[in-house]
Amino acid sequence: MWSSLALLAFGLLVAFGATRLSVWRGDEPRQGFFPLLIAVVIVCLSLLNLIRSLALIRSQERRPQEKRHWHAGLGRVLTYLVLMLLYFALLDKAGFLITSVLFLAVMLKHTERQTWNTTATIGLLAVATGYGLFVYLLKVPLPKGLLASFL
C-alpha cells in the first residue's frame, strides 16, 4: 500500500510538472507531452495497485510475520547509509585519504566486526590502491582537504 501511495504521489508530481510545460501546440507535441503520458501511466497503475492492496488488507490476507521481516536487519542497512552520508559530508573538508581511512576503519571494525589486523591491512591496501588508481592512473583530482599542504 505504501509503495503504491508513494508512486501515486510521484506520478501526480510528474503530471503537475508536465502541465506547467507546453504539452501541445498546433500540430506538434511539445516538451510536456511525453512526461504527461508517463505520468498518466504511473497514476493509473498506482491507483490500481492501491485498490488491490486495500482489498487485500480488508480481506485480512496479510500475515503478521511480514512486518517483522521488514524490520529485521534494518539496523545494518541504516548503519551503512549513515556512514556513507558521513563520507559524503567529510570528503571535501577532510580530504580523500583521511575520510577513506576513517570510513573503512569504522565499516570493517565496527559494522563488519573484523579484527584489527584485517581492518588495518584491507583498509590501508584499499585506500592506497584507490589513490594510485584514481589519482595517478586515471588523473582524477581527489580532494586533499586537511592534507593539502602536505600533498
Binding site: S3, L7, E28, P35, L45, G73, M84, L108, E112, V140
Partner: protein, 513 residues
C-alpha cells in the same frame, strides 16, 4: 566481410585492447564466481572508469565482463552447489551431481569447452548477421524506431519480470527519470528545479551504481546473518582431470550445437537472454536425450547444453545493440550508456561511420572467448579461492569503490549524495519486490523513445495513424499488443473452457438424475 574482420582484428589485437579484453574477461569470471555480485553491478561500478578510456577499449572491457561472468558462474554451480549467476542455476542440477560422483573436472571441462564453442559460433553468426541487419535498420524511420523500442521495453517487462504491473510501473518511473534535463527535440529545460547539475540530466552511471551497486549491497547487508556456508566437493587438481573423454564428447557435441543456436536466438530477444536460454536448453536436452535415466543424477548433456546456451545468448544480445542501437537487457542498456558517454550512438550508422569500433568490438569477442578458455581451465582453483573471501569485506570494498567512482565522474561530491539516494531507493525497491532492471532500461532508451515518438508525430502533423500506416511499425505494434493483452486473453480462454466444462458436468449430473 573478410576485410571487415581483418580491420576489426587490427583494432582488437592492439596491445591496449588486448589488456582491456583480458581485464574484462578476468573480472567477469571473478564476478561470475561471486554470488550476489553480477555483471550489472560490476559494469555499473566500472562505467566511471570508462570516462577516461576510448570508446572501443571501454566496450571491449565491459563486454568481456558480461560474457566472462557466464563462465565464472559455472565454477561455483558445480563445486559449491551455489549458482554464481542466474544463468547457471540449471547447471547446479546436473553439474553438482557429477561433482559428487568425482566428475567435477569433466563437468567444468565440458562447460568451459562448450562455452568456448558456443561463444565462437555466436560471434560468427553475429559477424554474418550484423551487416545485413544494419542495412535493414537504415530503412527504419522514427515511427519504426518508436514501435521497436516500445516492443523491446514490453518484452523486457513481460518476459523478465515476476509482477507485470510492478515492472510496467518501474519502466514508467525510468522513463520519467529520463525526462530530467534538456528536452531531446527542443533542448528546453525540464524538471531541473533550477539546478545546474541537473541540466545534463541524471547521470546514468550514478543511477546504475546506486540502484545495482549500493542497492544490492544494502539488501545483502540486511540478510548477512542468514548466509549459510557452501557445500564443497573436491576441486580438480590436474589439467587432465578437466579434459572430457571420447564418450563425454560423443554425448555433448549435439547438445553444444543445439544450445549454441537456441541460446543465440533467445539472446536476440529483448527480455530473453542467458537465463531463459539456459533453462530452455535444459528442457530441450531432457526431451531429446538418449539417456533420460541420467537426468537429475549427473547427465553431462544437462551441463553441456545450458552452458553453451548461456554463452551463445551473451553473443546474441549484441545483435540488437550493434545493429539497431536497441538494448535487449540491462547489461546492453548500460553498454548503450557507455557508448553515449563517448558521444557514439550504437546502431546502423555506427557500422557506416565508425566501422573500426563496430568490427573491433565483434572481433574482440573471438579473442575474449579464447582468453576465457585459457583462464578457466587451469585457474579454477584460484577462482574457487575467491569465494572464501568473507562477503563482509567484499561488500565494504564495493561500497568504497562506488563512493570514489561516483565522485570521479564530475569531481563533485553531490554525485555521491545522489548515488546514496538511488542506493536507498534500490534497496527499498527490492524490499517491496520492484525490479530495478525495467527502470534502468527505460531510463536509457527513454530519451531515444521520446525523440522518435515526437519526430513521428511532427512528420504527420500530430496524426498518430503514422504508426499504423507504416507496415513495419504496424507489425511491431501488433506483436507488442499481443504480449500486453496475452495474460487477459489466456484468462478469457481459461474461463470459457471452465464454463464449458461446468456446463458438461451439470448436463451429465442432470442426466444421471
Amino acid at each position: 566481410m573478410i576485410d571487415n574482420l581483418v580491420m576489426g582484428f587490427g583494432v582488437s589485437l592492439s596491445f591496449q585492447n588486448l589488456i582491456y579484453c583480458f581485464a574484462g574477461c578476468f573480472l567477469g569470471t571473478v564476478v561470475g564466481v561471486l554470488p550476489g555480485l553480477g555483471p550489472v553491478a560490476t559494469i555499473a561500478m566500472l562505467l566511471t572508469l570508462t570516462y577516461k578510456l576510448d570508446v572501443t577499449s571501454s566496450i571491449i572491457m565491459l563486454s568481456g565482463i558480461y560474457y566472462g561472468a557466464q563462465y565464472g558462474g559455472t565454477i561455483t554451480s558445480v563445486l559449491l552447489k551455489i549458482p554464481g549467476e542466474a544463468s547457471t542455476v540449471v547447471t547446479v542440477i546436473e553439474g553438482y551431481e557429477m561433482a559428487q560422483q568425482g566428475k567435477a573436472g569433466k563437468a567444468l571441462g565440458i562447460a568451459a569447452f562448450g562455452s568456448f564453442i558456443a561463444g565462437t559460433i555466436g560471434t560468427i553468426i553475429l559477424s554474418l548477421l550484423a551487416p545485413p541487419l544494419s542495412e535493414l535498420a537504415l530503412k527504419f524511420g522514427p515511427p519504426e524506431y518508436t514501435s521497436l523500442m516500445l516492443l523491446g521495453l514490453t518484452l523486457v517487462i513481460y518476459l523478465g519480470s515476476k509482477s507485470i504491473s510492478k515492472a510496467i510501473l518501474m519502466g514508467a518511473v525510468g522513463l520519467a527519470l529520463g525526462v530530467v534535463g534538456l528536452d531531446p527535440v527542443s533542448s528546453y529545460e525540464r524538471f531541473t528545479f533550477g539546478s545546474q547539475s541537473l541540466t545534463d540530466g541524471i547521470d546514468m552511471a550514478i543511477l546504475a551504481m546506486g540502484l545495482f551497486g549500493i542497492g544490492e549491497i544494502l539488501y545483502m547487508a540486511e540478510a548477512a546473518s542468514s548466509r549459510s556456508s557452501p557445500y564443497r566437493v573436491k576441486c580438480p587438481d590436474t589439467l587432465r582431470e578437466l579434459l572430457p573423454d571420447r564418450q563425454d564428447w560423443k554425448r555433448s557435441l549435439k547438445p553444444i550445437g543445439r544450445g549454441s543456436i537456441l541460446g543465440f536466438l533467445l539472446g536476440i530477444l529483448p527480455g530473453g537472454g542467458a537465463v531463459i536460454a539456459s533453462f530452455a536448453s535444459y528442457a530441450l536436452e531432457k526431451k531429446l536425450t538418449l539417456y533420460p535415466q541420467d537426468f537429475g543424477k549427473g547427465a553431462i548433456e544437462g551441463v553441456a547444453g545450458p552452458e553453451s546456451a548461456n554463452n551463445a545468448a551473451a553473443s546474441g544480445a549484441f545483435v540488437p545493440l550493434l545493429t539497431l542501437g536497441i538494448p535487449s537487457n540491462v547489461v546492453m542498456a548500460l553498454l548503450v550508456g557507455a557508448f553515449m558517454i563517448h558521444g557514439v550512438t550504437p546502431g546502423p550508422f555506427m557500422l557506416k561511420e565508425q566501422p573500426q569500433v563496430f568490427w573491433g568490438i565483434i572481433t574482440s569477442m573471438y579473442i575474449g572467448n579464447m582468453i576465457l578458455l585459457v583462464l578457466n581451465v587451469p585457474l579454477i582453483k584460484f577462482f574457487v579461492k575467491i569465494i572464501e573471501v568473507p562477503y563482509a569485506i567484499l561488500s565494504v570494498l564495493i561500497v568504497f569503490i562506488c563512493l570514489i567512482g561516483a565522485y570521479s565522474i564530475h569531481n563533485n561530491s553531490v554525485d555521491i549524495l545522489l548515488m546514496i539516494i538511488f542506493g536507498a531507493l534500490g534497496y527499498v525497491m527490492r524490499k517491496f519486490e520492484y525490479e530495478p532492471a525495467p527502470l534502468m532500461l527505460a531510463f536509457i532508451i527513454g530519451p531515444l523513445l521520446e525523440k522518435s515518438l515526437r519526430q513521428s508525430l511532427i512528420m504527420e502533423q500530430g496524426n498518430p495513424m503514422i504508426f499504423i500506416t507504416s507496415p513495419i511499425s504496424a507489425g511491431l505494434l501488433l506483436v507488442t499488443a499481443l504480449f500486453v493483452f496475452s495474460p487477459l486473453l489466456m484468462k478469457l480462454i481459461k474461463s470459457q473452457r471452465a464454463a464449458v466444462l461446468l456446463q458438461q458436468v451439470r448436463k451429465s449430473a442432470s442426466e444421471a438424475d
